[in-house]
Amino acid sequence: MFFASMEQAVPRTMESLAVLVDFVREFLAAERLSTELAFDMDLVIEELFTNLVRHARGGGDIHVLLEHAPGEVRIRLLAAEASPFDPAAAPRVQIDLPLAERRAGGLGIHFVRELCKQFHYEWRDGVGTTTVVMGVTS
């Protein structure tokens, strides 16, 4: 059961990240949640958003929805996509390789998996929706 919800639509450019940072703080203030949550929420939203901007085949704004229920924050990103682009299906990265053999690719989705207790994707009628749930103390 999720209660209060806020939505922000932003263009598919990296300049949108600053708008989303402000949006997270507005949400935390409105929900009287700790600003301590901002870092992890920023990280999850940035990784999902930049993944869409860089790799998904679609156009138009990306809609970010934030919802709060007791003990949980749910983040959803909705984007028009010509075909399904499921970040939750991305292969897991190997973080135990020597540094010289490491690549940065895939780390963002790895962070999302580290920080979220639920992570799933659905595609319907040309719109992809990525949903993550983070546990919070509220």
Binding site: A18, E46, F111
Partner: protein, 94 residues
């Protein structure tokens, strides 16, 4: 916003947010500097995978030149991102 300030003795003060909006500019700025480098991260408020990529690429460039990269002063939240990436054990972080 991100600010990089080059100090004497290869010290670079990193201030602000090292995110995907700033990573290209940060990588280009660091690529212009010879090693060894010490990044003073005490005023770095945030880092994402794009910022981690900047650090990894800079480390690889300097290592290929026989030089080194050191990170100092990380706040706990920033350090935790390096830990998620498994880099806290392999990078020189103090």
């Amino acid at each position: 916003m991100l600010e990089l300030r080059v100090e004497p003795a290869g010290v670079v003060i990193v201030k602000g947010r090292l995110d995907a909006a700033e990573s290209d500019r940060a990588l280009a700025a660091l690529a212009a500097l010879p090693g060894p480098l010490t990044l003073d991260c005490s005023q770095m408020e945030y880092i994402s995978s794009a910022g981690i990529s900047v650090i990894m690429q800079t480390w690889k460039r300097l290592a290929a030149q026989g030089s080194s990269l050191k990170l100092v002063g990380l706040i706990p939240r920033v350090r935790s991102v390096f830990a998620y990436a498994g880099l806290d054990r392999v990078l020189d972080i103090q």
